[in-house]
Assembly symmetry: C2
């Protein structure tokens, strides 16, 4: 059973607000790819815009520039090994989606490949060309055109981290294959 439900675009920034490590998906000319990225963030609520660092040497960068689109998928804690694995190999040499038998669906607006099994959510993104920042900082800006999340962990625009959904909780890369899982919710006084 698929628990993914659309997320209002006005709430899309919340999927990335807490700094999870993500999977960047892309496709062009019959080839598709997935890579891990620790460096992404929202930059605007409305219109929903994000930025992500995609090194200029990567196959993903080539596909993203050629297609003008990419997906940002949020792996849950159950996908920590997969996330690390697709962050190590290059899509130029191996079809990582086939090798790891990753099921993808097509994004509703741009048709980018998106991963739902084991992921907490995804954002379908249209690249905003910024040649200078792409070149100088490997930073790609994009507008979010669609978003969805697993309703067992993100409902009504809010994350809900509980003991019964740890496998879907987002992961945050410390470096060298060590991740922390988001958990232990703290509510600020006055909020």
């Amino acid at each position: 059973m698929n628990h993914f439900r659309p997320v209002e675009l006005g709430h899309a920034s919340r999927l990335l607000n807490h700094g999870p490590t993500v999977l960047v998906t892309s496709t062009h000319g019959g080839r598709s790819n997935v890579m891990a990225a620790a460096w992404s963030m929202p930059v605007e609520f409305t219109p929903p815009r994000i930025s992500v660092v995609i090194d200029k040497s990567t196959f993903t960068r080539e596909l993203v520039i050629a297609s003008g689109a990419f997906g940002i998928c949020l792996p849950g804690a159950g996908l920590v090994d997969l996330t690390y694995a697709v962050g190590q190999a290059s899509g130029r040499k191996v079809d990582k989606i086939a090798r790891h038998k990753i099921a993808t669906r097509r994004g509703p607006v741009l048709g980018v490949p998106l991963i739902e099994v084991g992921c907490a959510g995804w954002l379908e993104c249209r690249l905003i060309r910024e040649p200078h920042t792409e070149d100088a900082y490997d930073t790609c800006f994009a507008e979010v055109v669609a978003a969805a999340a697993d309703s067992r962990i993100f409902v009504g625009g809010h994350w809900t981290f509980r003991d019964d959904n740890t496998e879907l909780q987002t992961i945050h890369h410390l470096g060298a294959g060590n991740f922390v899982r988001a958990g232990g919710v703290l509510r600020a006084t006055g909020a």
Copy 2:
């Protein structure tokens, strides 16, 4: 006793790699300020560079542009209320550093105010002027010129999240005053 120790610049990106919410500190012309920011990320290992979203309406933005420098401080879980509070009020109307009795030290290179008590680490940053991205995406790029971290939680270039340092563990804002604490370390197979 102060447990802060310098962090090699080559390891500075690891302080931000897992997406913590940060405090942005700044000073110019005798006025200083602190604001919370959920949206920041590394963009380059060497030279160490980062980006952070600082809304153009904020007093911090004014001080950062005028001084060409700012600090990124990582509040530990014990500072969740303070983080939320300084994210709500504007420094134009109130001296938040004085109101909350925040102790600061001067950065070793640029003299920016930096917070150590209750924080896990800090990065002293020199703004790299990028008028287009500052205007279009409120995104400020900077080079990290010095960094330090509390040795009880970051040692030898690595985070160490343990049961005995939860108060220093980084926080990650979900929105509306709800934060998650980084914890539950997962090590990828093959790492």
